[in-house]
């Protein structure tokens, strides 16, 4: 028999993941739920010679069909895969958190409730009758302060106990008479049919009109008649709001329990969060403070990540290259192997690895902001301005995350519950200049703008943001015209992020980058190297090689943008699988060609570009087709190949047009 399974369910900001980390320690594995881009965190808990699998479900406010996160959580809980469910509740926020609890009880699942962050509740003078809560619900309730590890042993004991007892619960929620009557009616329809979920629960969800459950029912073999009967029911009651009545009955249940067990001070205690917020989301100060924070983030990223650590990394890679070259020569390796190792791998992949420190620092700081609760404030202060472009404040968070990498940026659009906001936010994210593009800019900046690096970089980022906002406005008025949107968001209390969590998140992202450098980018560079040295009759790295032929073929397309050499075209082409490969490919091609002169990549670029073409090249890189990973994510998130192709093409067209405009206008003005 496999390990017993424990699943964690809870609201966002309830400290669920912190508890997951406390329970599993370093024993974790992060993957994806099948078919969707929702992250699946699994870990192992060892207790008294037994091993348990712990599954961290996505943070959600309710189990329903609103978002992929909710569907994943709902399906998992219903699948009965878990032997017990830990419902993590934020103690300062019991009323709202109990809504999710009521849904879990509605499903009748084996539960253990953890009242987390009781220290914060205490500070706010909120008193909770833990014993009473447990008694009324009939569910074990344990108080804990997960980030300090308090309550860990009690939780484990209760959880193991609950697994042994295999308890299930009767649905405690009282629906109103009318709704109850309809639930029975649906139950009648479904009786004896093969349905994927428990019948009582399914009937409630049908009356509630949960689109996911309805879809599942249609897919399962309940017969045309039953499907039609359900459709008739909804058609007939299209003016009734059973959905809200069901939600309301859950709320009444949650409220009655909170009323009986929670007492709050007559006057809310002013917290540190209130004090900080008075400044941070102030009408006048909010945006300037945001700008300062971002400026510090980028400044620190570049000083520490690039100038200090990046330099060290470059030095080490160069040294390693020399060492390998000597080693290979000493064992009389064939010429091609040396060429491949040095030109292909060291110059190509090395160009990417040099940026690991920079990306590490950037992710550390973005992760810190995220965990501290500041990101929600950023969304809040930007909402007003974003609205002018037809977006909401939360879109801004996705954009900021996109600065690190567009993949999580696009995935974070999932927190937006309406389709229009979500789609537009995803469509514009590729214009957010991601970490992988930084190497490209820094090389060009070193070659042409050594004294104005920060300014050029800042301008590129700003241009990306401006293009994104303009496109948002255009999409809003064309593709998604007339669709409404709304904005509701929780501003969680500020919390000092734990070093462990920040490091863990950073590592997830950075290791992803390193793995990509080792696989996709390695593969791209290898393919490029092979193309560059065949056919044997051609001079390697020359225009006569196969790669040269491809580049020459593409060259006319990029000629109006001023990219005069075939290498430049090929590098853009190589950037579609992975943006890091642009520099990698340029490194390999130019290093190959300039090997005998012994000049570095920067020198090679200085010889092949002008200030003007370097600008148009950087803008092209900024705007053109995002990398394969981003396109893949867009495909998964939109579930549409057509949208994915559309994004690949329109971004390319936009990048090309911008690069051409810069080059042509610049030439006219005499900057050529």
């Amino acid at each position: 028999m496999g390990n017993r399974k424990i699943a964690l369910v809870g609201n966002p900001n309830s400290g669920k993941t912190t508890l997951f980390n406390v329970l599993t320690g370093a024993n974790q594995h992060v993957g994806n739920w099948p078919g969707v881009t929702v992250e699946k965190k699994e870990g192992k808990l060892r207790y008294q010679k037994n091993e348990y699998d712990v599954i961290d479900l996505p943070g959600i406010y309710s189990l329903g069909a609103f978002s992929e996160d909710e569907i994943v959580a709902m399906d998992y809980v219903l699948s009965d895969d878990a032997d017990v469910i830990i419902n993590v509740i934020d103690s300062s926020n019991i009323e709202r958190n109990l809504y999710l609890t009521s849904q879990l009880l509605e499903m009748g699942k084996n539960l253990v409730i953890v009242l987390n962050m009781t220290d914060e509740a205490e500070k706010r003078n909120i008193k909770i009758d833990v014993f009473g809560l447990s008694k009324i619900l009939g569910v074990p309730v344990i108080s804990a302060v997960a980030h300090k590890g308090e309550g860990k042993n009690e939780i484990i004991k209760e959880v193991v106990n609950a697994i042994l007892k295999k308890k299930t619960y009767d649905n405690p929620i009282k629906y109103n008479k009318n709704v109850l009557h309809h639930i029975e009616h649906i139950e009648e329809i479904l009786k004896g049919k093969k349905i994927p979920y428990p019948i009582k629960w399914t009937s409630i969800k049908v009356v509630e009109g949960d689109s996911h459950v309805l879809k599942r029912l249609e897919e399962s073999k309940i017969g045309k008649e039953a499907v039609e009967a359900i459709k008739d029911f909804h058609r007939f009651h299209s003016k009734d709001s059973f959905e809200l009545e069901v939600v309301d009955s859950r709320y009444s249940f949650a409220n009655s329990i909170a009323e009986a067990t929670v007492s709050r001070p007559a006057k809310e205690v002013e917290t540190i969060t209130d004090k900080i917020d008075r400044i941070f989301i102030n009408k006048y100060l909010g945006i300037p403070i945001f700008a300062i924070i971002m400026l510090v983030v980028f400044q620190v990223t570049f000083v520490i990540g690039e100038e200090i650590l990046g330099g060290i990394a470059a030095f080490l890679i160069e040294g390693l290259g020399g060492l390998i070259e000597k080693l290979l020569m000493s064992v009389n390796s064939p010429e091609w192997l040396i060429s491949f190792s040095i030109n292909g791998i060291i110059n190509g992949v090395g160009a990417v690895i040099e940026f690991v420190p920079l990306i590490t620092v950037l992710y550390l700081m973005l992760g810190f902001l995220e965990d501290s609760g500041y990101m929600a404030r950023a969304a809040f202060v930007w909402d007003n301005l974003m609205r002018k472009f037809g977006l909401q404040g939360r879109a801004f968070i996705s954009m900021i995350i996109g600065f690190g990498c567009n993949v999580p940026g696009i995935m974070s659009a999932r927190t937006m519950d309406n389709k229009k906001d979500r789609m537009i936010t995803m469509f514009i994210n590729p214009f957010m200049s991601c970490g992988a593009k930084i190497p490209i800019y820094t090389v060009f900046i070193a070659a042409f703008f050594p004294n104005h690096g920060a300014l050029v970089l800042f301008s590129l980022y700003a241009l990306g943001v401006i293009v994104a906002l303009i496109m948002a406005k255009i999409f809003n008025n064309t593709l998604f015209k007339g669709e409404s949107s709304y904005f509701i968001m929780e501003l969680p209390p500020y919390r000092l992020p734990t070093i462990k969590n920040v490091l863990r998140n950073m590592w997830t992202n950075v290791s992803g980058f390193i793995v990509r450098a080792g696989t996709v980018i390695f593969a791209v560079v290898t393919v490029m190297w092979v193309l560059a040295v065949v056919p044997a009759s051609a001079e390697p790295y020359s225009q006569d090689s196969l790669l040269g032929a491809i580049g020459s073929f593409l060259m006319p397309l990029f000629k109006p943008a001023g990219f005069g050499t075939w290498q430049e075209s090929v590098a853009l082409f190589a950037g579609i699988p992975a943006k890091e490969a642009v520099v990698g490919t340029l490194g390999m091609l130019y290093a190959g060609e300039y090997m005998e002169e012994g000049k570095a990549l920067v020198d090679a670029i200085r010889e092949n570009f002008t200030q003007l073409t370097s600008l148009s090249y950087m803008v092209m890189v900024l705007l053109y087709t995002p990398c394969a990973a981003v396109l893949g994510t867009i495909g998964k998130e939109t579930k549409s190949i057509r949208w994915t192709v559309f994004i690949a093409l329109y971004t390319f067209a936009l990048g090309w047009a911008a690069a051409v405009t810069i080059y042509q206008v610049g030439s006219l003005l005499g900057f050529g």
Binding site: F66, N93, T273, I488
Partner: protein, 76 residues
């Protein structure tokens, strides 16, 4: 007297009477604790979203949506 959430001022307290928004938005409001009869403290209403506290928990609500939430003021 019935007011709408977007017209309340900082420091005022109110009880939610009814919500006349789309189903999805209404459900979202419910989930965030803004169900009927919940009491709110208005923390901020100048530019941008309205910030209200529900049980000491801060919720930002867009102006458009706030205009669809009918409330009655509670006098201290």
């Amino acid at each position: 007297m019935i007011n709408y959430l977007n017209t309340l001022r900082k420091g005022e307290k109110a009880k939610i009477e009814s919500i006349d928004a789309g189903k999805e938005a209404t459900k979202r409001l419910y989930e965030m604790g803004l169900n009927t009869h919940a009491t709110l403290n208005i923390l901020k209403n100048d530019i941008g979203p309205i910030l209200a506290s529900v049980n000491g928990n801060k919720i930002a609500i867009g102006r458009g949506l706030a205009g669809k939430v009918a409330v009655s003021k509670i006098k201290e």
